[in-house]
């Protein structure tokens, strides 16, 4: 037995003992630190594993990671794969190791580990392990105080893709010029997806559309049509950079959730599942019973009203949430704006959201809450919402009661909330933490 494998088995043993102990004291999943300890004992843990024992799918992008990841999990599980999603706070290494501490080392079928990473962590994650599948969803302007400017993210991602193993299959959104550009640097297989449906064009340019410039030569792109933000059928008249051919399109899938953005998530999940030999039809069938991830178009019945929560954490996400909610012509909506670390401490972006579209709904009542309740209310005032239709509540629970009281039993109401605000809202509606 080599020295490496002694360390490996010692790490497995210690990690498993720790996991069991943590379970005994009531920490349900044991967290990721048994994995962390195992990695200290055996830094090469992953390379010591039988490569046939796991498959790794990494999902990256600004919006839609959690929903796409959950769709992949649903599809693969229905097709008898064992699937694990990353836990909160896990990084790729300790998360993957933790999965193996709670499963046998020898398996009949590989465990599929689906890992979502944010913009800033992708290069680090890819330098640790090469995934079997890498899903690249989109790049929108998000928290400037955390992730920096889009252009620097594009440059970092491009570098990581250039050195990515050719064995990785990349599933990339062709409608996003930055994503298509980055995926083009992969030396292995790339499968592109896109909507390819002119009926879905929404040619009113959103203010938040910030990548209308070519990622290659920085000249203005020409669009045959825009779906939302900077996603569409694009081409660069200057350098010839153009929308790549796609192998998966909107008509090939059936999205279980409203909104064009969920068609993209469905396409991404279908593309990733295809690598495992699962057909588009099988994917659509598996997704019939899809239940959304918490706070992502999740509906909760509260006091006999159906309440749908839409996590809305950046201008593009917020614009999409507004579009979906307004299509249902609601009479009351709740907006919750927080500025804690998970939300981003800078909420300037609310002025990049096209709230002006709300003012067309003359009788829509807007209930407002959150840490920055008055900033949110003020944004609505400046968007042209009459003051008599704006109801501000500093305490979230009061806002939710107001929302419910404004509506009859059986009504469908909508809540748009930033990340920590969404968690708080859920806690009130369900009485549970997560």
């Amino acid at each position: 037995m080599s020295c490496v494998s002694v360390r490996f088995y010692l790490a497995v043993f210690t990690g498993r003992v720790l996991q069991s102990l943590l379970r005994l004291i009531g920490k349900s999943a044991g967290g990721t630190w048994p994995g962390e300890i195992a990695l200290i004992l055996c830094p090469n843990f992953i390379s010591c594993l039988n490569p046939k024992s796991f498959r790794l799918i990494v999902v990256a992008g600004t919006n839609g990671k959690t929903t796409s990841g959950k769709m992949i999990q649903t599809i693969l599980s229905k097709n008898s794969f064992t699937v694990r999603l990353n836990e909160t706070g896990a990084n790729l290494m300790n998360g993957l190791v933790s999965v193996f501490l709670s499963h046998p080392l020898v398996l009949e079928r590989p465990i599929v580990y689906v890992f979502e990473v944010d913009e800033a962590s992708l290069p680090h994650a890819l330098s640790a392990v090469s995934p079997d599948v890498l899903v690249l969803l989109n790049l929108f302007r998000d928290q400037l105080d955390r992730y920096g400017e889009i252009r620097s993210v594009v440059a970092l991602w491009k570098k990581s893709i250039e050195i990515l193993s050719p064995k990785t299959t990349v599933i990339a959104n062709a409608d996003d010029p930055s994503i298509a550009y980055i995926a083009g640097f992969h030396s292995g297989t790339v499968q592109y997806f896109g909507l390819e449906d002119p009926l879905l064009f929404h040619n009113k340019k959103e203010h938040a559309a910030d990548s209308l410039y070519c990622p290659k030569c920085f000249r203005r792109l020409t669009y045959q049509g825009l779906y939302y933000s900077h996603l569409g059928i694009w081409t660069c008249g200057n350098c010839g950079n153009t929308h790549p051919d796609i192998s998966l399109r909107a008509r090939d899938v059936k999205s279980p959730l409203d909104g064009n953005y969920n068609i993209y998530n469905t396409l991404a999940a279908t593309g990733a599942s295809g690598v495992f030999g699962i057909s588009s039809e099988q994917c659509s069938k598996a997704l019939l019973e899809f239940s959304p991830a918490f706070g992502r178009m999740e509906s909760i019945v509260y006091k006999n009203r159906k309440i749908t929560i839409l996590l809305s954490k950046n201008p593009t996400g917020f614009n999409q949430s507004l579009r979906v909610a307004l299509e249902h012509a609601p009479s009351t909506m709740l907006f919750v704006l927080n500025d804690r670390i998970p939300d981003g401490t800078d909420v300037s972006w609310i002025y990049d959201v096209d709230f002006e579209q709300i003012s067309e709904y003359k009788s829509l009542r807007c209930v407002v809450s959150g840490d920055l309740v008055f900033d949110m209310a003020l944004r609505l005032q400046y968007a042209g919402v009459p003051l008599k239709n704006i109801f501000s509540y500093e305490i979230l629970k009061d806002a939710i009661e107001q929302l419910v009281n404004q509506e009859n039993e059986g009504a469908h109401v909508w809540i748009l909330a930033t990340y920590s605000a969404m968690l708080e809202t859920r806690k009130i509606l369900t009485g549970k933490k997560i």
Binding site: R141, L144, D145, E149, R151, H207, F218, T345, D346, V347, S348, W349, I350, Y351, D352, L372, V373, F374, D375, A377, L378, R379, Q381, Y382, A383, G384, L387, I390, S392
Partner: protein, 272 residues
């Protein structure tokens, strides 16, 4: 009399990084509610000198380093026109990175020194990409000179700053405000922003005017005075929410102030 103002918005495509259009939305709405016409001129490479001279308020936002370089090349061609506008008393508001363009020079994150317009007597250096940026809520007390100009109004401003550059003021400009919480121009001398004639520069980025309606009205008042050569009283607007948002930030940061001004509608006042 029908008043009308032209708001010149500097390079909205290149300089609207993070909610900067909030300032334009505020001016437009406040003019609209008072029955004053508002025309937005998007200033870019195609804007002529003649068009530029018709601008009554100049507005500048933030941009990424690369966009800022494209902007300054074109702005330098418009330098004398802008200088004459500002010297004549045309008001302006420059937030986020745009003040850097107005000074003698500024530095990018990688240390390159770039020539500015030299209209404001100030200079911006960059301590290097490894040094911490100045990020966070920013509250400051408006400097005395300014306060007389916007007499009777609240003396605090509330914003959010996020900048790597550090700006040092020369004797040709006055600080806009004194920092209470935050970094301001350079994190050391407590100055925040600068004022030259009727132009305000501030490191507050993005939507600065929504929570600072007094500054919005000061800009409008200056523009009307400059254009119509008379003092025009502005009808008060319902700023209850704006002041609540302003107050809430002061309260959160532990800054004590008097009670917010009560809103008293004067429906007929100030239509000129």
């Amino acid at each position: 009399m029908n008043y009308k103002l032209t708001i010149g918005w500097l390079y909205p495509e290149l300089m609207s990084t993070y909610g900067d259009r909030g300032n334009i939305i505020v001016l437009k709405q406040r003019l609209f509610l008072r029955g004053i016409g508002a025309n937005i001129l998007e200033i870019d490479q195609t804007t002529t000198e003649k068009e530029l001279l018709k601008v009554d308020i100049v507005m500048g936002g933030g941009s990424q380093d690369r966009e800022q370089e494209i902007v300054i090349v074109d702005l330098l061609k418009k330098k004398e026109t802008l200088r004459s506008l500002f010297s004549d008393g045309t008001p302006g508001l420059f937030v986020c990175g745009s003040p850097q363009l107005l000074g003698h020079s500024y530095m990018t994150g990688d240390g390159a020194k770039i020539q500015g317009l030299g209209i404001f007597d100030m200079e911006t250096v960059h301590p290097g990409a490894g040094k911490p940026r100045c990020i966070g809520n920013l509250v400051a007390e408006i400097s005395d000179d300014m306060r007389y100009a916007i007499c009777g109004m609240r003396n605090t401003i509330v914003g959010f700053e996020n900048h790597g550059g550090r700006t040092i003021l020369g004797s040709g400009v006055k600080p806009f405000a004194q920092v209470i919480v935050g970094s301001g121009n350079n994190g050391t001398d407590k100055t925040e922003g600068a004022v030259f004639q009727k132009c305000i520069a501030t490191y507050s980025h993005g939507p600065f005017l929504p929570k600072n309606p007094h500054i919005a009205d000061w800009l409008i008042f200056q523009a009307l005075t400059q254009k119509y050569h008379q003092n025009i009283e502005l009808a008060p607007l319902d700023d209850t929410l704006a002041w609540k948002a302003h107050e809430a930030m002061l309260y959160r940061l532990g800054i004590k102030t008097g009670s917010p001004p009560e809103f008293t509608p004067h429906l007929d006042a100030g239509r000129g």
